[in-house]
Symmetry: D4
């Protein structure tokens, strides 16, 4: 515990050994940080890494960072800010499938997918196959079943996770989204549904937490 | 409004015109009433009707009533107490399908089914076809689709309602049950899921309210 | 299940057989979709159908769509975007009554009413007859009782559903609205009240879900 | 504030000036107190008062107290333990009406009614007139309207309070009860409904708090 | 019930006999109504009454109404819009005390106070005497005790209601406000505290419902 | 989907192809089923499998089953009922670590551990190493880090999951337990904590759902 | 961190250096542990300490332990099991005041008081001085103000904490209790009230957590 | 109680003896007060004190006050408005440590830190040492342990409080923050976690209540 390396900024400490401990540099959660704090943190990260990322980034952070790090990229849908100078495929053909119930779940799904890709995984996107029209899911089932890990992204009643859980014999990560209204209570309905899935063996992450799902999928996919 | 008939008991008033207004005598909700109160109410009902029922009845009510009304019946699973002296089929072959996700949902399903039968409907029971093994549902789908009204009974995450809603082009009544544990919060998870069903057009009743589902199904089934 | 027809867009799949399966083309839930995604979906729908609709539509979607589909219409109160080239009356004089407790419940009521009308039903609107002045309801009761299906729309404490449920011997669909404040918790009070209605046999839909109520009423009204 | 009289027992202090300050001796909330603590408190009260009471009393407290205070009475339905040696009518013909939605609400209603009676009020009981059969309420409306204060006791969706509030031009106290199940959440549904009543000017007390309603009604009824 | 008078507007019905039934013309809840709807309603009311009011009014409603009803008034703090052409004192020296815990509770308190005044009551305002500095309350206690009805307005933990309830032998109406943050949950903390007040006999209204408190106080104050 | 094999019992359907689809026979959730229903289901399972199990089993089910299946076993702590005639190790030295915060979490932990063992995994138990004495965890960290998958079982505030998540570079499954009291709300506190873990990439299962965690861990551990 | 001493039992680890680190041996939380587990733990503790304790102990644990540790004591009201062979007063005349709103709060208060005493503090008990009769509190205020730390124990609406917080210029620890019913939600009302206390600077512990309050008071009292 | 000094403003009363009773002038909670109300209050305070402060202040209040009190200061991060003409150190080297889990917790932490400083304490800031990288905390542990009182500020799952509670033998105040999203429910997750901390003896304040933590820490630190 005495050999950890970290950099002390004003109000933030950047871990520099997390890459070794956890296979990827520390990921910056941008919400609640000022633009300047984010810029400082990314500037530090870029001194040590080729690939790194921040989540829930406002566009203004990207604009503030661009002059300093010209190859920084910003994905508007997922709100991920990242640098990826040396893309590598760590897990070969072992694919992570990201499946959504609806079109409105795409921002969360893309956060999961892009996270998994930046960490070196091949990703299969299967979007808008919610259970209200279950044949749409059935038509894509073969390709989903070939994946190594499956991420189910759904708002409203979140039934997609249970249906997938019964159909796919692979580790399944469920991501409830805040898509919906009224008694959805900003994702609570889907969250509870996924936690109570009759398809045992589903791991659930926080509402709208695409990043967490992507990271867990990467960790599972890295096993052998 | 001036021609209503009712009987005043100690602490209870029995409507005697509800049969005309609503197609069935007043149904007694036994919970929270003493055995004696229930006996008094049923004794009054039997003076005016051939068929009547009470829900959530303790066995002790049945035992107290049996000496007075020898043909009273008690269904242990649904906890319905009833007299049915002159069974009639009001709605012919127009069937109500009662579908459950699991075996543990049976008490609620039977409350719905028996209610619908006492009110004069043919009932099709399809039990234990939850979405964790969706092929079980698919195998029974043809017969469900032939029904006129469908009641989906499910606890845990309640996904059955959404899946059925996408597959069946008939009025669908969803009954969340308190089957489950933990973040199920005694049926809340299934209730929220059903209210947020992505399959639009699902009518939801209270948690464990098999009676309400049976009655609504009967009213829908009586339409022509 | 192998003969389903659908169109694959970027992030969305449009069912083209739902008309046959469910009696109306897929309805677009516009919230959470970009204007462009909505335009793409509606453009696809109009190639196959004369009548179709989207709910919770922003005016900007309408404006983006208008140049492409000149006869698209937008109802500001209900926020429904629709094309209705060949209006038909499917259910004759069988009327759906939409009843509200207050004037503020009108946007939700109109979503229900317009949905039912687009699907081919005659609709009777009875607005602002909440139980605080119960004589207003009583004065309109005769016409409500002539309807085939009744939709009760109410916020605050949602008592309208229970009172109507006791007075009308027809299938009753209750729509809680988010009208109110404080311990209303954005519709939760009305939702719980409707689920616990002492008038058994009420089917409840999600808070502010006028569309779901309209669709369910249509399905019930189509029975014979 | 320096002239207060009180008696110090082991773990309890008995106010002896509350009769003057608040018109009735301190009322003992028996739940959570041991039988012995209750006996000690009642023994102290009887040294100073002719009329006093305790709420939520177990029968074992009554049995422990009976040998010491032979004229102590116990009302099983309301669970009130009381001595009433010198019954007086303080408020003449000014009546408090206690109205319930159902028979199962009687224990709470009786707690309110008996409290009001012990404090010297005339009480009119109107039970089982819930809104599912609104004519039952209408038939009793005239006598309710003659009362000076009205207490509405209801579980389930608690709609009785709103309907009464619109019909009666007198102060109305609403008591939600825990009668019901499922999404009633042990009285929460009725509580929220009553707090959100569209009939403005309803004062709500805690779930099952018949005592509080009776006491507030007494205070209102004592005004002139 | 056949003699009720009302005016039917587009989406709204105005009761014209409520003045007789309830002692004051129907009060307009402006939230959720369009400016035009409000103008129509107020125009109808002014044809029949000298004094009438609306709550939760936006300033734009006032501005739209002013050209039509030049003597309409708008109280910015309470957001009450009103006409009061013929102020009368109905209840003489019988005073209603409105007491607040903090300065931030003033908008709700003023809604209560102005409502009571418009209905013809004398009001005593005692503001910013919360229990954190209980001597401030004690210093004003004498004048509060002289009032006939007391309204306690408090956010945060709402302890003012309990303390006042123990000190004042008059009907007490408690109004929780949404003043506070965090675990206050927009007034829930104060609401629950007031419902559970150890000072029995407190009537609680909805969070921020100054109007309801003022109206109930008026009804109590009108008793004799 | 047409080749599924299943057995239809009274109220239950037993899948017989789940072993192939999901690597283990259908697991029976015993809660809510009668003893007789459970016996019927297990008798059917034993005709087809050497290893199978039920969770949340009452001892009475075991006693009813014992005469029919003499080698059935019952683990009192985890409440698992199982037959394991032909134990196999499917995943070699690839170990699943089950870590608990406290001794009281053992029943849930044992449900996870025994499930994983019955499915063919080697399990390392590390109990009572909660973060209040973090050195206890640090002392066992080396062996935990050697595991392939880690299950963190904790009640109260559930901080163990976050701390482990930062220390271990392996897929982590978090199981909140209902151990605790008061504002723990029967496991809700731990559940929310785990869902919000600052250590990204934790998959959470339902409160007290040791079985789900064991099954998911097995699926992850089976990957290569 | 490498010099920690602990004893490994079956499913439990006993810290033996916590006395040094935290000033008192590890306290055993008995709920959820079997009698045998508790006996094993206490047997280990007694080998190393003269004073130690367990909370939430069933009487059966005491009875199982008594033959092994004859001088073990059990306090029925607080449910504390303890050995105190060498009572010491660590903090001299620096007193901790434990104040309750009602008699029913005594079990929690005694848990706090006995904990503080076992840890070596002088305790002043002031019980049943809730705010409904605020003069009772005022009469005892002088002695409370002389204490060094104050613990306020209250259920229902928990107003005692706010009132004390405004009157006493000492660190104040608030303990909500589950005393109450209905909208008390088993202590939630008091908990929220205490967290939102307008008297800034109150530290709150879990519902019914007398032990935590006693321990924190001891730590504060030990400062100098 | 008769010698209290206070100033009556319009809608606000300023205590002028709180400095003596509580060691610091009344602190102004600016939220919900108009700019003018705040200016009036601060003008009154400055007539009597050299040091005083307001929390949750908008910048517009500062700007309105600046012309009147030129030496008023505004700290943008903590939103504290203050005058500190005569800074004093009341508690010498006795330090209060303010520790945060993340950078986003800084506004709340600074509210605590600045409050403690204005009241005369030395503050040690240790930021961004959350448990996801526990070595960061360990590296700073020595300096934290030297403090006299510790304030743990954390959002998300709030595990920092439990970990610190086990490591530091000093009074610990936990401040949950609203940092996070989804099932964080605006700080509820961290709040519940801290209330249920397995590290006994943690005093919790309201979500985001840095001021309350700072004040309580000051009171504890002032003890000797």
């Amino acid at each position: 515990m005495d050999t950890n390396k970290s950099v002390q900024l004003d109000g933030a400490i950047i871990d520099l050994d997390r890459n070794e401990r956890q296979g990827f540099p520390e990921v910056v959660y941008c919400e609640g940080k000022t633009d300047q704090q984010c810029v400082d943190i990314f500037m530090t990260l870029q001194e040590h890494y080729d690939t790194f990322m921040g989540t829930r980034a406002r566009i203004s952070i990207y604009e503030a960072l661009k002059p300093h790090i010209p190859d920084v990229q910003y994905d508007e849908m997922s709100r991920i800010l990242y640098v990826n100078r040396n893309p590598i495929n760590r897990n070969g053909e072992r694919t992570i499938a990201v499946v959504t119930a609806g079109t409105s779940d795409m921002p969360v799904a893309e956060e999961a997918a892009l996270t998994a890709e930046l960490m070196g995984n091949k990703v299969l996107r299967v979007y808008d196959v919610g259970v209200a029209g279950i044949h749409r899911l059935m038509e894509r089932l073969d390709s989903i079943q070939e994946a190594n890990v499956v991420i189910a992204v759904a708002g409203m009643e979140g039934a997609l996770a249970s249906v997938l859980g019964g159909l796919v014999n692979k580790p399944l990560i469920a991501v409830p989204t805040s898509v919906g209204y009224g008694a959805n209570f900003e994702g609570l309905a889907a969250l509870l549904a996924m936690l109570n899935s009759c398809a045992a063996g589903v791991g659930v992450v926080n509402i709208d937490n695409g990043f967490g799902a992507g990271r867990l999928a990467h960790m599972i996919n890295s096993q052998r």
